[in-house]
Symmetry: C2
Subunit: 218 residues, 2 copies
DNA sequence: CGTAGTCTTGAGTATCCTCAACGAGGGTGG
DNA sequence: CCACCCTCGTTGAGGATACTCAAGACTACG
């Protein structure tokens, strides 16, 4: 299964319509992925900056004991694939059907950055955002009960989804994925959702569409 | 209690003795902190890039429920204080007596970066390192048992400590700090250490000096 | 409409948390 | 110099929470 390619579907980066950005866009290309399809494998060296246009993806790895851990969910406007020359190697897989990903070859990025100083600044901001996500994640994992973790997760997704109504979240991923993201079992995720429903903190609109009533657990 | 200031004690950054780096060093200053002394508070806007020269610090915050969470331990060569214009605000406190911190005012950094292109690249690398730490941390928190978390923590510290003998770790922080870092109770940290000792995975040389025999839990 | 994947719920077990007591080490003052 | 205190670390007992195994309900898609 090969990703479908095109040159349209550019991610609009908020407040960044600079000349440098446009120059970068000219070297980008867009690919389409099916559900569970690998966007890049754990042993591939990151040769490009990638950005989700539509859909969602999970950045994950499999531990020695066979458990899968998801270190980040990637939503539209999120960049990834950079800075992967470190110890841990992750693979990225599409979570929904279809997921559109825009790709910017690393050498082209650096080439453009040489003549456009503000682009490097933008890249720095993008890295800061990824760092910010990771820190927020550490805090979510640090919560005590499963219900708190799940609620914090829902709030995080609602904030990151850029939807009109922030109290309604549409989850692109399965319960399994949430479980591996929060480092709890899928059954516990389900039970936590039921508990949150019972205590009126959330309401289930659809199976993956949730209305958040209380953002803080009382 | 005021931090003591001086202009010596420059952090040697491995493989980065470039002209840009030297230019940056000229605008840096070094401060000394006592144990538990605040290096910067959670509401201060980060106006400088900071780097641990000697000692250690914890990046933490206090949750609504009164629990303290440590999102990162900062060791010599680690940079921090940047990218803090995001949602969560952390305070940084010295963990050992004394801790030396080198400070580079943000506007000076940006000024130097304008004339030294490679400096921005270095800053990018520094941010990647922080991101890498955060991801490693998510994986540690995702481990199942307390013993696994504690062992993974010890291994992380041994890798980051740059000591000659990597099998021996000298922990600069108390059990409480480890507990808040791993999101488990201090008693559980103690019990996990005892268990690891019993199963011969580690040996306690001193109260805060540990020899790691098995890096992977069998 | 059937099948496979996803989600929920239940029962029993293992792990961790809380409360509590105790021991070891370091600093201070008599 | 020693007694005292305070912090830090360890260990125990009981209760709460999450995990595993298992079965059943729901959903999506062919």
């Amino acid at each position: 299964m090969r990703p479908v390619c095109s040159t349209h579907a550019v991610p609009e980066r908020h407040g960044c319509t600079s000349h440098a950005w446009l120059a970068l866009e000219s070297v980008g290309s867009t690919r389409t992925y099916a559900i569970n399809q690998e966007i890049y494998g754990k042993d591939e060296r990151a040769q490009e900056w990638l950005c989700i246009v539509t859909g969602a993806a999970r950045k994950c790895l499999v531990l020695d004991d066979g458990r899968r851990r998801i270190v980040d969910f990637l939503l539209p406007h999120d960049f990834f694939g950079f800075g992967t020359r470190n110890a841990h190697h992750f693979s990225v897989e599409a979570v929904v059907q279809p997921t559109l990903v825009r790709s910017y070859p690393r050498d082209h990025v650096e080439q453009v950055a040489e003549s456009h100083l503000d682009l490097q600044q933008t890249m720095q901001e993008i890295t800061f955002e990824a760092l910010s996500r990771a820190h927020a994640r550490v805090l979510i994992l640090g919560r005590v009960t499963a219900a708190q973790k799940v609620l914090a997760f829902l709030v995080e997704m609602s904030v990151r989804s850029f939807s009109v109504d922030r109290s309604i979240v549409t989850l692109p991923m399965a319960r399994d994925d949430i479980a591996d993201y929060l480092a709890i079992s899928a059954e516990t995720v389900s039970r936590a959702l039921s508990e949150l429903k019972r205590t009126r903190a959330i309401t289930l609109i659809g199976i993956r569409q949730i209305k958040i009533a209380d953002r803080h657990l009382h």
